[in-house]
Symmetry: C2
Subunit: 137 residues, 2 copies
Amino acid sequence: MGIIHHFAGQNGSWDWEGVAVEDYTHKLPGVTTRRFISRQDGSYNLELRYFELAPGASSNLEQHVHEHAVLILRGQGQVLLGDEWHPIKFGDAIFIPTDEIHQFRAAEDDTLGFLCAVLGRHLRTVAHDLAQTVTTG
Amino acid sequence: MGIIHHFAGQNGSWDWEGVAVEDYTHKLPGVTTRRFISRQDGSYNLELRYFELAPGASSNLEQHVHEHAVLILRGQGQVLLGDEWHPIKFGDAIFIPTDEIHQFRAAEDDTLGFLCAVLGRHLRTVAHDLAQTVTTG
C-alpha cells in the first residue's frame, strides 16, 4: 500500500509526519537527515532522504560506487564535485556519478536543505555489477 | 564527472539549464516533464524527473513493477493510491510500491509540480527479480 508522509514544517523548521529525525551532530555538527522513503516504508528500489545543514555545516566527504541524484530544496551553499567547489541554491539538480568525490556545505549565513535519491541498499552492489557490464561489455 | 542543472525558473515558470521540456500535451493535456538526471547525464542507477500538471490536469493512470518516490514541490492536488484519492500539497512525500495503481491530479485552481525518482531503465527488471527473491526467499 502506498504511503504519504505529509509535510509538517512551520516557522522555517521542516518536518514530516511519520519520519524520524536522524541527528548526526555527534560526528557531523549541524547535520540532520530524514528518510522519507526507504526499507522501513517497504521500498526495495530506492531511498529518498532530506538532509539539512545548519549555516556553515558540511556533509561527510564521500566517494562510493552508487550514484546520487540531488535537488536543492532550500537555502544556498556549495557542492564539491571531484576537486572543485560549485555554488548551489534552491532548485538546482545535481548528478553525482560512480566514484565521484563529493561533499555539501551550507553558506555561512543560510541553512542548506536538499533531497537525495539513492538506490536501496541491496541494489547498490547489483548496480555496480551492471555498470561494469555496461562499461566493459 | 558530476553535473549541475541550475534552476532557471522565473515568474512562476520553472525551468532548468540543460534540461529539455518534454510535452505530453498530445496525449495528456496540461502535462510536461523535465528529466534532470537520467541516462543522458550518464546515470545508470536512477532517473529524477520533474512533472508539472496545469490546473485540473491529470498524469497517466499507471500500474507497474518499479516503485516511485515522489516529493511535491509546488501547488496542490490529489494522488490516487489503489482505489482512493488523497489530498497532497507542497512538501508531501509519497511512496508508490510495486504494482500499486496510481495517478496524480492538479487542483482545479492550482498548478501541481512534483519530483519523481525511479530506477534507471536497465535496473527495473533486476529490481523485480530481487523483490521476488526477497518476498519468496
